[in-house]
């Protein structure tokens, strides 16, 4: 492996493509089976069975759903703004997937003498042996997750239907206000870590046998960030943008076929991303007992933590009814933002004193 392209060895490019493929396929499969898991879990929580017919215990249900949606008729409403209508699902979907680029899902593994960090946007400098990744990783994620709002607002506007418009407006108001409190909640983590690099944040939580999590140091920020994230990705109990009892299906009322599937995938991909982000920031990422000695354990711990958080999202959906809009705004602006500010001040004083 002596070929060098743009100052980097060939192995770097091979590893990069492999990492992208693995992460992308992993997220796609998780998205597909998250729908199945959600239906199964919520079904059993309501003492039902959930999907049972397609395959053994309904295991092929996501594939059947995908095929069905793929073969549905594409409908573009005659009064819709066609270009924006077509581009909106893409704008919603792409940011949901590209956020995964900076999330570390494992330590550094060695393949054929070349060290590969299990994080897409990072590499190991062979000379110094240090791992370099985007030093503003969290900022990148926040930026991308706010880009997702555009897709939804655009979908609501381009559909030229009152339900879609209301759903889109609700989504924008909700996502922007919760983005604020989510941002404030994680500031206290950065005050402890002193860095925005995801890799560094994970490494800082590796103490005490892989259990020195920021969730224990910042429990309030952890709870606030997780709730705000759920609100930001429009999941129950904060699913007002697509409240079917009020708005038919919200911003995606007019969508059909694959374009609807894209919104659906974006929603679940956002859930994966948010759970992965919460895992990285608060639950020690891929850290766990023996994760530093056996590097392949890292991804296992990471996936286990992400899946637990996703299970919690589904559990919450089976439990809590939808909030009213004024309650939602009340929680966002009058509870979480002051709490986040207080948390920052307390963390600041604490850090100053110790």
């Amino acid at each position: 492996m002596d070929i060098v392209i743009l100052g980097l060895p060939m192995m770097y490019y091979i590893a990069m493509v492999a990492k992208v493929l693995v992460a992308f396929v992993f997220v796609l499969l998780t998205v597909a089976y998250a729908t199945y898991a959600e239906r199964k879990i919520i079904g059993h929580m309501q003492v039902r069975l959930g999907p049972m017919r397609t395959g053994w215990h309904g295991l092929l249900q996501p594939i059947a759903d995908g095929v069905k949606l793929f073969f549905k008729e594409e409908i573009v409403p005659s009064q819709a703004s066609t270009f924006a209508f077509l581009i909106a699902p893409l704008i919603a979907l792409v940011p949901a997937f590209i956020t995964f680029a900076v999330i570390p899902f494992g330590g550094v593994i060695e393949v054929a003498g070349y060290k590969i960090p299990l994080q897409i946007a990072s590499y190991v400098d062979m000379a110094s042996g240090k791992v370099y990744d985007i030093n503003v990783g969290v900022l990148y994620i926040l930026a991308m997750s706010s880009l997702g709002v555009y897709g939804i607002v655009l979908a609501g506007w381009a559909s030229n239907s009152k339900y879609s418009l209301l759903g889109g407006l609700r989504a924008s108001a909700q996502m922007i206000s919760y983005e604020l409190s989510a941002g404030l909640a994680i500031v206290s983590v950065f005050m402890l870590s002193g860095t925005l690099s995801m890799n560094e944040i994970v490494n800082l939580q590796s103490g005490m046998g892989g259990f020195e999590w920021y969730a224990f140091k910042q429990p309030l920020a952890f709870i606030m960030f997780f709730i705000c994230s759920i609100a930001e990705i429009n999941r129950t109990p904060f699913d007002l943008p697509e409240a079917e009892t009020e708005l038919v299906s919200g911003f995606c009322t007019e969508y059909s076929s694959m374009k609807y599937a894209m919104f659906f995938m974006a929603e679940y991909a956002n859930m994966v991303t948010v759970c992965a982000l919460t895992t990285t920031l608060f639950l020690g990422g891929w850290n766990g007992p023996l994760a530093t000695t056996f590097t392949l354990l890292g991804p296992v711990y990471f996936v286990a933590k992400v899946y637990f958080l996703m299970f919690f999202c589904m559990w919450l959906r089976a439990t809590v009814p939808r909030y009213r809009y004024d309650q939602l705004m009340h929680i966002g602006w009058k509870v979480f933002i002051p709490l986040g500010l207080i948390n920052i001040v307390v963390t600041g004083i604490w850090n100053y004193l110790i």
Binding site: I41, G43, H44, M45, Q46, V47, R48, L49, M52, W315, L316, A318, T319, V320, H330, I331, K334, V335
Partner: protein
């Protein structure tokens, strides 16, 4: 907003849903799993048979008592000069499955079975003739 008032009910709710996760589902996988029909379930009618012919003597008590007026009976006379029902039809689209015909019958000629899958493709198939109503051996 009182944090205790907000979070305690949510945690209690989470406990309940988690408990339900491990309960046995009540779902009946219908076409493969059959429901247990109660003994006195009022389903499709059947005409009782005795000595290889219907017990019905065409007394007209069942069409008289029928609140939906779905029973058609025509009397006939057989070789022994006994009265019997030459026509006995029940229109299942009109029947309300009240069971009054069974109660009214003086000779125990009609009863109701546990058969409940009465769907059909055309209207005329819902009118059950005497042959279709005769007790299955």
């Amino acid at each position: 907003m009182n944090p205790i008032k907000t979070f305690v009910p949510i945690i209690q709710g989470l406990k309940i849903t988690l408990g339900h996760l491990f309960k046995k589902p009540v779902t009946l996988q219908y076409p493969t799993e059959r429901p247990k029909v109660a003994e006195r379930f009022r389903g499709l009618h059947a005409l009782n048979v005795s000595h290889n012919k219907a017990k019905c003597v065409a007394c007209y008590l069942c069409p008289t008592v029928c609140p939906a007026k779905c029973i058609t009976v025509e009397a006939g006379e057989d070789a022994n000069h006994d009265k019997f029902a030459s026509v006995y039809e029940i229109d299942m689209l009109r029947c309300i499955f009240c069971g009054y015909c069974v109660e009214a019958c003086p000779v125990d000629a009609i009863r109701m079975t546990g058969e409940f899958e009465l769907a059909n493709y055309s209207r005329k198939d819902f009118v059950y003739s005497k042959e279709r109503l005769l007790e299955k051996k």
